[in-house]
Amino acid sequence: MRQIHVPTLPVLENVLGLSDEIVKNMLARMVLIRTAEEHIAQSVLEKQVFTPCHLYIGQEADAVGVCQALRDTDYVFSTHRSHGHFLAKGGKIEDLFAEIYCRETGCSGGRGGSMHLCDPKIGLLGSSSIVAGCLGIGLGPAFKSKLMGLDNVSVIFHGDCVPEEGVWHEALNFAAVKKLPVIFVCENNLYAASAALADRRVDDNIFEVAAAHGLPTEIVDGNDIFAVHKAATEAVQRARNGEGPQYIETRTYRWLGHVGPFDNIKEGLRDINELNFWKERCPIRNLERKLIETGVMTEQETEALHERTRKIVEDAQAKAVAASKPAPETLLHNVYRREV
């Protein structure tokens, strides 16, 4: 397999000239995701949380960089690894924690769990734990936009194993033929559960295969939030302008194993040197360094941000712990909108 697109340290050039305030907000959102995931990992270790949690640590720049390019009225579809997308699109931290604790106050009322998050108010119509499941349904709101002459776009986040599923090809071709305003975002973290990319493809060519379906395609450093955001902004613009579907592949890495709080190094599923290589490319720490270097923030301000975020997360967690579990007598509720 070709060894391509292994990023150097993130360049982190503010190419779109975002204001300091916007950049600080993007950092804050990444820190929120990171902090939430660390607390969730701890809750799993402490056996307070049982729903299978697929943690997003290491990939924060992808969700935040893309969602920053979206309006509230744009749609997002996500996967089993959905916490980051939920928070990046504007979901409430309390709603997330309550769902992870499977409480009735959760965003899915305790019926979904970690992998099935939803908030129509922010355009998140749901996340699916079936690999490639959202490749079909995620086309839907874009189909609506096309048929009704609206300018909302739909973003379908998916992992690098999804191009191995047939519906990926169907969805790209369908979107291209119907010129749907949909942005496919492939977060390539190099692993499908424990299977490495090289064991699953003959080449490091997801973006090339996407391009063969007729989609404008870009591959970016997924640890560089400016690069992700620029690619997303341009793709969203083209999609809104009626230029049809777009494809972005981000090259990233998840620091923890496929599911749960462990890094799976001692089980031999990954190499410690590889993990350390990617930790050096931390999307948050490198951005903080850059902002401190360029005088946008001080070291104290970044520390205060982490402290503030920790309190927000712990408050949400405490509310989740205190909330009620769904009552057994509600078991059969909401199978249908209209019971016969």
């Binding site: 579809f77 939803c118 749901g126 086309l139 749907l180 209209r338």
Partner: protein, 327 residues
């Protein structure tokens, strides 16, 4: 008395589409061969001319993506009708339909509903063989979150399609090409056949024949034949297979004390078996004989006409089963 307005089952489906499309600009139609009479008969003929290519669309041969796109559009508030000219190809969509469409409203605690109509056409016979002949009613009826309808008459073919489009939940609408030329009274204009309500098509006193889709037509033929032999059949057309209207079925069986259930499907783990179970549960002490069922033999559909003749079920099979309930 108002004069009857006779229409074929196929034309009634076409009219149902027109009403639904006129009623709601969010309604649209997509499927392979939308203008192809070999695929869909006349059921979508002329829709393109009236409603234009933005609302009446052909599709790439991508059952999963096409169906998924319609499910997702419904989540965003559209009213899609996505059709499959042969139900056999709907198996390619099962992930989108079962894991997503059917689960969504429950999994997200009622936050998102999915008002999609997924129309499957049963298209069998003619030596088409195993992969072009199926009618898997039970596959869909087994799934919580789906509603399944299967009209037998032209009136209900139109009324159930309109009801399906108006319904806030996903509806699997199954029509049968063997019924396309059936003629019946079809009211003009906008009306719904209620989902979840069976219909007593013919009253009788001696035996209840419960049927769905094409087998309703055969049950009516069987009833006429048996009538001449002095056996009075009550024919119940299920119309909706999920949720099934056991009240209407059981009211009838309580009266007659005998039942035959007939749907053109494989029997094991089927709608037929579930209805039979429901009859036993409600009428155990009242039944004058065991419930009989008339279903397809437990093998894939064959091609050769000689084997097809042995495979498919008709009025004569219902007549035989009814007679068995009097042994």
């Amino acid at each position: 008395m108002k004069e009857e307005r006779l229409l074929t089952y196929g034309d009634a489906i076409n009219e149902g589409h027109r009403i639904a499309l006129r009623n709601d600009p969010a309604c649209f139609v997509i499927g392979q061969g939308v203008n192809n009479p070999w695929f869909v008969g006349r059921t979508t003929t002329g829709l393109m001319e009236e409603f234009g290519p933005m609302r009446i669309m052909d599709s790439p041969v991508s059952e999963a993506a096409m169906t998924g796109a319609c499910i997702g559009a419904a989540m965003a508030g559209m009213k899609p009708i996505v059709f499959h000219p042969r139900m056999d190809f709907m198996y390619l969509t099962l992930d989108q339909v079962v894991n997503h469409c059917a689960s969504w409203h429950y999994m997200f605690n009622g936050k998102v509903n999915v008002p999609v109509v997924i129309r499957g056409i049963v298209n069998r016979g003619g030596e088409q063989g195993a992969q072009h002949s199926q009618s898997p009613f039970g596959v869909y009826a087994n799934i919580p979150g789906l509603k399944v309808v299967a009209p037998a008459t032209p009136k209900d073919a139109k009324g159930l399609l309109i009801a399906a489009v108006n319904d806030p939940d996903p509806v699997i609408y199954i029509d049968d090409r063997w019924l396309y030329d059936s003629v019946g009274d079809v009211p003009e204009g906008d009306y719904e056949t209620p989902i979840g309500k069976a219909n007593v098509l013919k009253t009788g006193t001696d035996v209840t024949v419960v049927a769905a889709s094409f087998m309703v037509k055969e049950a009516m033929k069987a009833a006429a034949e048996l009538e001449s032999e002095g056996v009075s059949c009550e024919v119940v057309d299920l119309r909706t297979l999920k949720p099934v209207d056991m009240d209407t079925v059981n009211t009838s069986v309580a009266k007659t004390g005998r039942a035959v259930v007939s749907i053109a499907e494989w029997a094991f783990a089927s709608v037929t078996d579930s209805v039979t179970k429901g009859i036993y549960e409600a009428n155990f002490g009242r039944l004058k004989s065991p419930v009989r069922t008339v279903t397809l033999p437990d093998c894939p559909a064959p091609a050769s006409k000689s084997l097809e003749a042995a495979y498919y079920i008709y009025a004569k099979d219902i007549v035989k089963a009814v007679k068995e309930t009097f042994r």
